[in-house]
């Protein structure tokens, strides 16, 4: 009975937050404007970050890894396009509830809004970097190979995964203030052990830490359709499964702790 009450309160929170989507989108847009207020290049900085990182890493690593530049540069650009989004969402999710603290303590706004705001804000950032990706894909003749429906499907699945990850990390970070440091360390660790800068096809043996690396699959199902490759059905099913199970876990955690967050932040 008590569990049902908690779950229905959590459900109402999420539904009323989703009903406020246009408002959250506008607030996320205002976040962006505030962030780049008085900066000359403004949102161009986001595109520049992707362009410069992908460009310099592309040239250097194609030499180190002895990969042809016309394949490696599109690969690294597509990877970073997704990876930067992924990492930014998770890093900002650690502050989702803490940053929303004053609002949480002083208004009856649904809590889930704080998660939506992080995701929408970063989708806006991600869209700003799209021109760089498109330029590289067109320049290296990859654009014709892009599987748009599969890419969009992968992107949506990634967002669903990011929503539950953000809920869990947001709650944990509000309760335990060491979590943000752990999260940023773990992300950095995964950046090195995941096929971010290298393609798993470059591995001859010992691919188990790729196969069992959730971050690899979450990134791959979005990246592969951009490069004319198809992700393995195993990757796709893995991502769908984590989305479903993760959502369940995150919902339970959200329901159990929703009313306590106001005292944590």
């Amino acid at each position: 009975m008590a569990i049902l009450k908690l779950a229905s309160a959590a459900g109402r929170d999420i539904v009323s937050a989703l009903k406020m989507t246009p408002n959250v989108a506008m607030l996320a847009w205002i976040d962006m404007e505030d962030r780049y207020r008085r900066s000359a290049l403004g949102p161009l900085w986001m595109a520049l970050t992707l362009g410069v990182t992908a460009g310099s890493l592309g040239f250097l690593y194609s030499k180190i890894l002895r990969q042809p530049i016309n394949e490696y540069l599109p690969f690294i650009t597509a990877t970073l396009f997704i990876w930067l989004f992924f990492v930014n969402v998770i890093n900002e999710a650690t502050a989702a509830f803490v940053a929303g603290g004053p609002m949480i303590k002083n208004s009856t706004q649904p809590l889930f809004i704080n998660i939506m705001r992080v995701i929408i804000r970063n989708v806006i950032v991600n869209i700003h970097t799209l021109p760089v990706l498109l330029f590289i894909l067109i320049y290296f003749h990859f654009i014709g190979k892009v599987n748009l429906p599969l890419f969009l499907f992968g992107y949506v699945v990634m967002i669903v995964n990011l929503v539950w990850i953000s809920m869990v990390i947001g709650l944990l970070s509000a309760r335990y203030r060491d979590v943000p440091y752990v999260v940023s360390y773990v992300l950095q660790f995964f950046m090195f052990v995941s096929p971010i800068f290298w393609n798993p096809t470059m591995l001859e043996k010992g691919g188990w830490f790729v196969d069992w690396n959730p971050i690899y699959h979450w990134i791959a199902v979005v990246r592969d359709p951009l490069l004319g490759a198809t992700s393995t059905p195993a990757s796709l099913w893995f991502c769908i499964a984590t989305a479903v199970i993760g959502m369940g876990v995150a919902f339970a955690a959200f329901a159990a702790n929703r009313s306590k967050v106001a005292f944590w932040v």
Binding site: I30, K105, S107
Partner: protein
């Protein structure tokens, strides 16, 4: 005690609010200083965590047309009680009923962007409340007029005096046509006249129950604005009645 013969609009029934405090340890110096200073009861729960009992079996019924003040010194539970009534905090035990839509203005600065104009900030506040852009735009002329900010309505909010900020907050909180208006102690005695106008504006709107609930430690404001005062001490009601009577009793106790 005389009560308006009208329907209750807010009911707190047997409300307890107990929460854990993090980063303070009972044994530390800071912990013992806190214990001496904080009005609410600090204690330990079964697992040894430090907890505060901010509200203790609180029973409050507020009727239509009442203007009620919560009075008490720092840490007496005024703001916590307001937050429970507004639905921000869920009570640990007990129940809260409200009839009608509640407009709570607890902290004037929350959600405001200091660099943006009063007009843009109304948009921001409205978005946070879940109003559509259209709805907010429709409210703006009314807010602009009622706040009497004149040219300042289009100036950055950081240039506002505290009185101007208060007027902007009032104008917004009452423009959404609430049944119940809940205000925390950001009102200064200088705002009392404006607050009277604001609550008259509220009751002038035809329709449902109207009630005002505010927290204050200013006797002057309470006497000028409110019809009833509830005195809290350590999360417990110690006095409840018309302000003049209650403050007379409190004075004679000193």
């Amino acid at each position: 005690m005389s009560r308006p013969s009208s329907a209750p609009v807010i009911e707190l029934r047997g409300v307890d609010l107990i929460y854990r405090v993090f980063t303070t340890s009972e044994s530390s110096l800071r912990g013992s200083v806190l214990k001496a200073l904080v009005g609410g009861r600090l204690g330990k729960d079964a697992s040894g965590h430090v907890v505060v009992q901010a509200l203790n079996n609180l029973n409050i019924t507020i009727y239509e047309g009442e203007r009620v003040a919560l009075y008490g010194h720092n840490g007496s539970g005024k703001t916590t009680a307001l937050r429970v009534a507004a639905g921000v905090y869920e009570p640990t035990r007990g129940e809260v009923f409200t009839r009608g839509n509640v407009s709570a203005m607890l902290d004037l600065n929350v959600g405001l962007s200091p660099d943006a104009s009063g007009r843009s900030n109304i948009m921001l506040l409205g978005l946070h409340r879940g109003l559509s852009r259209k709805q907010i735009t429709a409210l703006i002329p009314d807010i602009e007029e009622f706040s009497e900010l004149g040219m300042f309505f289009d100036m950055p909010v950081r240039t506002y005096s505290s009185g101007m900020l208060t007027r902007l907050g009032f104008a917004f909180a009452t423009a959404v046509d609430p049944d119940i208006l809940i205000l925390d102690e950001w009102i200064t005695p200088g705002d009392a006249a404006f607050l009277n106008r604001a609550s008259e504006r509220m009751s002038s709107h035809a329709g449902n129950a109207r009630a005002l609930l505010l927290a204050s430690h200013s006797v002057e404001i309470i006497k000028r604005v409110c019809t009833r005062v509830i005195v809290l001490e350590r999360g417990v009601i110690v006095e409840d009645g018309p302000p003049l009577e209650v403050f007379d009793r409190l004075d004679s106790q000193k």
